[in-house]
Each structure stands twice: as C-alpha cells, then as structure tokens.
C-alpha cells in the first residue's frame, strides 16, 4: 500500500468520531440560524458559529466530504466579509446545514 492508501485506511478509523463532532456542530449552527432568522445579533453565538464553520471547512475534505467543505468555506467567507446582506449568510448556513444533515444521515 502506498502512503495515500495507508492514510485513507487510518482516516476511516477516525470517521465515526468525526461524524459525532459534526452532529454537535450541526446542533449549534442550527441554533445560530434560528437566532439570525429572528433578527438576533448575539455576538457570542456568531463567534461560535464562525468557529464551527471554520473547523468544518478545514477538516471535511480530509474525510472525503468535499462538498461539505466547499459549503463551509463559502459560509466562512461570507461571515468574514463586511457588507454582506444577512440574508446571504443565512442562506449559506442553510445550505451547509442541509449538507450536514445529508452527510450525517448517509453515514
């Protein structure tokens, strides 16, 4: 087996734990989404959401969840950009949550 195959095999063993982490992040992001939709501006919640999204962006690809990683990067960029309409950020988080649901359900 070459390096990439050995790596892929060993990553498989971490997948279960990673999915549990994703489920926890999903729960927090869902709460943030509800808050944003209600017009809330809870800074602490937004900071946590940014943190969760950033972590998904950095890790999803390593577990072959490439689309999830792309959506997280997009949401991350929107949160980091100034002058982005809240509606656009809400939509990006909704897409991310939908993909999180799909990944968690499929695995």
């Amino acid at each position: 087996m070459d390096v990439q195959q050995v790596y892929a095999e060993r990553i498989k063993a971490l997948r279960g734990k990673y999915l549990e982490t994703l489920a926890e992040r999903r729960g927090r992001l869902s709460a943030v989404l509800e808050n944003l939709k209600a017009g809330g501006t809870d800074t602490e919640m937004l900071t946590q959401a940014r943190f969760d999204i950033h972590k998904i962006a950095g890790t999803a690809g390593s577990f072959s969840f490439d689309h999830l990683g792309d959506l997280a990067r997009r949401a991350n960029e929107l949160i980091d950009s100034s002058g982005v309409a809240p509606g656009e950020t809400i939509q990006a988080i909704e897409h991310l949550l939908a993909e999180l649901d799909r990944v968690i359900a499929d695995h």
Partner: protein, 309 residues
C-alpha cells in the same frame, strides 16, 4: 526528528498525527493551544526540529505564536509551516511576516504535507551544516557567513510567492544587489558583513513603511523583494534613496568601508494566479539586479513580456 503540531481542533491534530506517521515522522508533540505550546517549549530538554501551526486559534492565534517561537533563540530559523483553512492574503502576509517558512491550506493532502515538511527540514539541515562549517573555517570568504542561510530564505520567498499567486493577489518582484559586494566582503569581518546585511533590511523596511512586502536575502549581497500594491514605488528614486540611507547607517559609521553601490534589477509585475512561474520571476529579478556592465536594469516588465523575453 522532533516535531510540534499546534491546533485547537483535536480532529486536525489526529489527522496531522496520522499524516505525519505515514510520512515517516513519529516523534510529534500535539498541543491544543499556543500557550500550551510555549510552555512545552520552555520545559523541553531537546529542541524541536519543525513546527506545524494552525492560524485561527482562540486566545493567541498561530501568527502570534509564530512570532513568539521566532523570539526564542533556539528557534530563530527552525522550519515553521502554517497549516490552515485561512487562505486570504492578509493571513498569508501576516504568517510570512511573522517568520513562517511555508503555508499549507486545509484540507491538506497527505503527500504534499510530507514532501513540504521534508523539503523544509532538509534545507534547514543543509543550512545549519554550512553555518557550522563557516564557524570552524577561519579566513574563509566573508560572504559565507550569511550565504548559508540564503538558500533557506530563497525557498521561503518562493513559498510566499506561490501562496500569494493562489490568493489571486497582484504583486511585483524586484531584486536589489550590493554591486560591489566582493570589495566589501574583502574589507569587512564576517560579523560586520552580517551586520551590513541586517542594516540593509532595516533601511529597506524604513523606505517601505506602510507597504506590504517581503524582502529576503538570496546570497551574494542580493535581496529579492515581493511587493504588493502599486509597483510605481519601485523606481530609480527608491533605489537612490535606499543607497543613500544605507551608506549613512551604522555599518559604515567610521566611513572607512567603501561606499556600497546599490543596483536594482527589472521589476516584474504579475496580476493573476500562476501568470508566470515563480522561479522564473525570482531568477530574472535576481539576475538583473546582479548584472554588471552597462545594463541599467529597472525595466518594468509584465508577465507576458517576461515570458516572451
């Protein structure tokens, strides 16, 4: 090889551990935060050979940590690789400005991570060996005193340029050379020579205050500058101004050393991702700065013009 990986995400630390293991590294210290990492460094009996740092971490981020590690004498030149999901150019600039040698985006590729780490380690080891040899050999070429680290700086510059290209940020590349470096090397002690080069960096920093750039020593009295923003400042006035300030600095305090003539090579402007191969741009900037004879240098070239030349 003793490595340290710092990331506040335990998942990333696990991924890094696996990736480094399969690449042949087994002695890895994992830290979940910058303060923990600094504490481990303070208490370590054996120094670390390389660091892998996340950028975005709570309390102290990876860029501040990189600065703090560089401030520790044993780690002034130890390879530091940023491993991060932050690809925005401001993070790239800050990381290299803090002393990082390389920058890898998450999610990382296991092969790329292993290769980049090994390259940085090999280059660092070779530089250290040359430095050691230079210390032992008396009466050698004075320029050897700093030549040992020049290859390492050049590699870091290439890494920076590649990362900048990935960000799609426009940049300009220019070389500055001390034209009479051999004459100066013959008259200055190794320590004075090293001091002179450090002072060049200081003069350059003063002239470029407020600008975003990376200036690295690439050997034989030559510096290469990666400059962001308008290239209009890279002109004859800047060259003359650097030359004038440089010759009034401390290294020439007693005025017994010869006047240092500063040459500036062509300025290469790149506007977009992979417009021109990184090594081609750097080589041209360095070669034209070091050119002797009547060639005047300082022609502003676009990427297309460089590729056609």
């Amino acid at each position: 090889m003793k490595l340290m990986a710092v990331d506040d995400d335990p998942t990333i630390l696990e991924l890094l551990e696996v990736a480094l293991n399969v690449s042949g590294f087994s002695n890895i210290t994992m830290c979940e935060g910058a303060y923990e990492a600094l504490q481990v460094l303070r208490e370590a009996e054996q120094t670390y050979d390389a660091f892998l740092l996340d950028v975005q971490m709570p309390r102290m981020d990876g860029i501040e940590l990189c600065n703090a590690i560089r401030a520790l004498p044993p780690y002034r030149r130890t390879p530091i690789i940023m491993v991060t999901a932050m690809s925005d150019k401001k993070y790239v600039n800050n990381a290299f400005a803090a002393g990082a040698n390389d920058y890898i985006n998450k999610p990382f590729d296991v092969l790329e991570l292993g290769v980049r780490l090994k390259n940085n380690l090999q280059l660092h080891t070779a530089c250290q060996r040359l430095h050691e040899m230079e210390r032992k050999i008396s009466g050698g070429d004075t320029t050897d005193a700093v030549a040992a680290t020049a290859d390492f700086d050049r590699a870091t510059t290439e890494n920076y340029l590649r990362q900048l290209s990935r960000c799609g940020a426009p940049y300009a590349v220019a070389g500055f050379a001390i034209a009479n470096v051999d004459e100066l090397a013959a008259q200055l002690s190794p320590k004075q020579f090293e001091c002179m080069l450090e002072e060049f960096s200081r003069v350059f920093a003063n002239q470029m205050e407020g600008e975003t750039y990376l200036c690295s020593y690439v050997g034989h009295g030559t510096f290469v500058c990666i400059f962001q923003g308008s290239h209009n400042r890279l002109d004859h006035f800047l060259r003359a101004s650097i030359e004038n300030s440089f010759n009034n600095f401390g290294w020439r305090a007693d005025r017994s050393a010869p006047f240092a003539a500063i040459r500036m090579g062509d300025v290469i402007r790149c506007r977009k991702f992979r417009e021109v191969p990184v090594d081609l741009a750097l080589n041209h900037a360095i070669r034209t700065a070091q050119a002797t004879g009547d060639a005047t240098g300082l022609t502003v070239l676009s990427a297309e013009e460089l590729l056609a030349s």
